[in-house]
């Protein structure tokens, strides 16, 4: 109920948009290059304005956001090297379109965390919803819990590491990048993927169209061990590798009968 009190104090305009004026709250306690503020009574827009003001204008490189209250779209569009800690959970579209920050979420996140992330590091202590890392272009995204369906959909780069299990259609239409899923994955893994690599430690309910087992190489071992070492995740489990079979690459050029064989 305490969190709801914060939401109730937010005013909305006729279009349902919160805080139409773009005034920066300037409520942070700044100490050198570090800052901290309580987001309990702030709207999404105010929190993001405060973050940008601190990072772009005050020279702050390390920000802690207390009580994020699972609000949506927090920490989006940060295009600078810095550290951001969310001392709680985020709603959907958290940390989207970021380029550079190292983010630590001490809680869970909703749908589409790190959507379109360009570079940076995001570590989520809890679970993440569906579409985690959607259309991600680069950087490392570590989820210490589970992820929902279609994580890494349309992934174009970067690395998604999941210590728990994953839902169905993971890596759907994946085009580049890597996923390491230590637990089980649902149906349709890597469906219609164009490229990229998916490593799975647990059981695979079923493979999607054109997703096939790949040949393990020394480069895979080096990559997985390096990522686990950097993020202090211990020893990696035994992993299976899956890649694109590349039979659908030019399916528009195939005769309909040939396409049926592929499908």
């Amino acid at each position: 109920m305490a969190a709801l009190a914060g939401e109730h104090s937010i005013s909305y305009d006729a279009r349902g948009l919160a805080e139409p004026d773009a005034a920066v709250p300037k409520v942070s306690e700044i100490s050198g290059t570090s800052a901290e503020f309580d987001a309990h009574d702030l709207s999404t827009r105010q929190i993001n304005l405060e973050l940008r003001w601190l990072i772009y204008e005050q020279g702050v490189t390390d920000v802690t956001v207390r009580n994020p209250g699972a609000k949506h779209s927090l920490g989006v569009g940060i295009l600078s090297r810095c550290k951001i800690t969310f001392d709680g959970s985020l709603g959907y579209f958290g940390c989207g379109i970021i380029d550079g920050p190292e983010v630590h979420v001490k809680g869970r996140v909703g749908w589409s965390a790190c959507e379109n992330m360009m570079s940076g590091v995001v570590v989520i202590d809890g679970n993440a919803g569906s579409l985690t890392g959607a259309a991600m272009r680069g950087g490392d995204l570590v989820v210490k819990g589970r992820v929902g369906a279609r994580s890494g959909i349309d992934q174009k780069g970067g690395t998604i590491i999941v210590l728990g299990s994953a839902g169905s259609m993971n890596g759907f239409m994946m085009q580049r990048g890597r996923q390491i899923i230590c637990g089980d994955v649902g149906h349709g893994l890597g469906d219609s993927m164009y490229d990229g690599t998916i490593y799975v430690g647990g059981k695979v309910r079923s493979l999607g169209i054109d997703c096939v087992p790949g040949e393990w190489t020394d480069a895979d071992t080096e990559f997985v061990e390096r990522k686990f070492r950097i993020y202090g995740l211990g020893g990696p489990p035994q992993l299976q590798k899956f890649v694109c079979g590349k039979k659908l690459y030019n399916y528009d050029n195939l005769e309909p009968s040939e396409r049926k064989l592929v499908l």
């Binding site: 569009g77 940076g120 950087g139 690395t159």
Partner: protein, 147 residues
Amino acid sequence: MSEHLAYSEPEKIKSIDAEFLSGHRFPYQEDISLVEDVDLDAATPGDDINWLEDVELLSEDGTPAVFDRYSNSFLKIYFPIPAGRENEIARKVLITHLQSGNSYGIRLKETHCKFPQPELGPWVAGSRTVGSEWKPPVLEGWEAPLH
């Protein structure tokens, strides 16, 4: 520069590279000593090469090149690349290009970005903020239709 240029209708520009966009070639495209000292780990977030993991040496018009995603163009490399260091050199040339502010996508920021952001992105600490004063461009003599 790209050899696949044509401005007359109906033919369009088929491919563009960094030299075409900027109008000239950059020294680090021709001299490996200018990129040898680049620290890739320091240039990227975290304790790893981060997004550069996906950057590899490619080829454009038969010349070794690295793709600059921030301007959607290739940056050609004209010096001999030591065997076994192809991706490393490609990454170093790209980071040098971005840190120097020569990427066409960066050069467009001051005029066109609508929201405040560091001009040189996450590659250079303390970069100035651009985009704070953006105003919609006005086309002289044009009036919005009545509907």
